[in-house]
């Protein structure tokens, strides 16, 4: 039976501090986005201002997210034609983000999510 300890050094500092999460974005700078559907993005990079490279990884700017924490509502613009209306939901069971490092064989807890932004309605036209 193989076993490994989960390292929580990164998250522990967060839990010990009084920096409780009140926003969708965690103090670690992560967030959880859920869409009822498939996000279709091009596989290859193009000469367009939406395509760029970050630390050797090609990234594409696929949309814009606007969150209103007061009304717990969110709007997501996808591509040039779609607008999705969603909401900020507090998770019943918080979700821990674990990183399984294959090279060193260690497991590290990276973050804890207690909120997510969920979009379960049909995309609307931008106009």
């Amino acid at each position: 039976m193989p076993s490994v300890a989960i390292s929580t050094s990164q998250v522990r500092a967060l839990l010990l501090s009084e920096n409780r999460q009140t926003n969708v974005t965690t103090p670690m700078g992560n967030m959880m986005l859920e869409i009822q559907g498939d996000l279709e993005i091009p596989e290859t990079s193009h000469a367009d201002d939406r395509f760029s490279s970050h630390e050797g990884v090609d990234i594409v700017k696929f949309g814009l997210l606007h969150v209103n924490m007061e009304t717990k509502s969110a709007t997501l613009f996808i591509g040039k034609k779609q607008r999705l209306l969603g909401s900020v939901v507090k998770l019943d069971t918080p979700l821990g983000l674990l990183k399984f490092n294959h090279k060193s064989g260690t497991v590290e807890m990276q973050d804890i999510f207690s909120y997510k932004v969920i979009f379960k309605n049909r995309p609307l036209p931008i106009m």
Partner: protein, 71 residues
Amino acid sequence: NNAIKARKSGTSMADFFKNQYKVEDRDRCDRSDKTALAGLNNDQNFRIWVKYKEGFSDAVRKNVSWHDLWS
């Protein structure tokens, strides 16, 4: 009434974001037909969209093996 309200606020917000995208229809009109067509073709090459799913489905829970976590 609510729908109209939502649409109104939606469009103003959409305009705001559209401006951020630098999507300007006026520029397109100013360009010659050839470049406009090329731009349209380019757009089709990398469309970004959400393929909406009509419903939501959770699969049956299954056992987890050591290999599943490290695969």
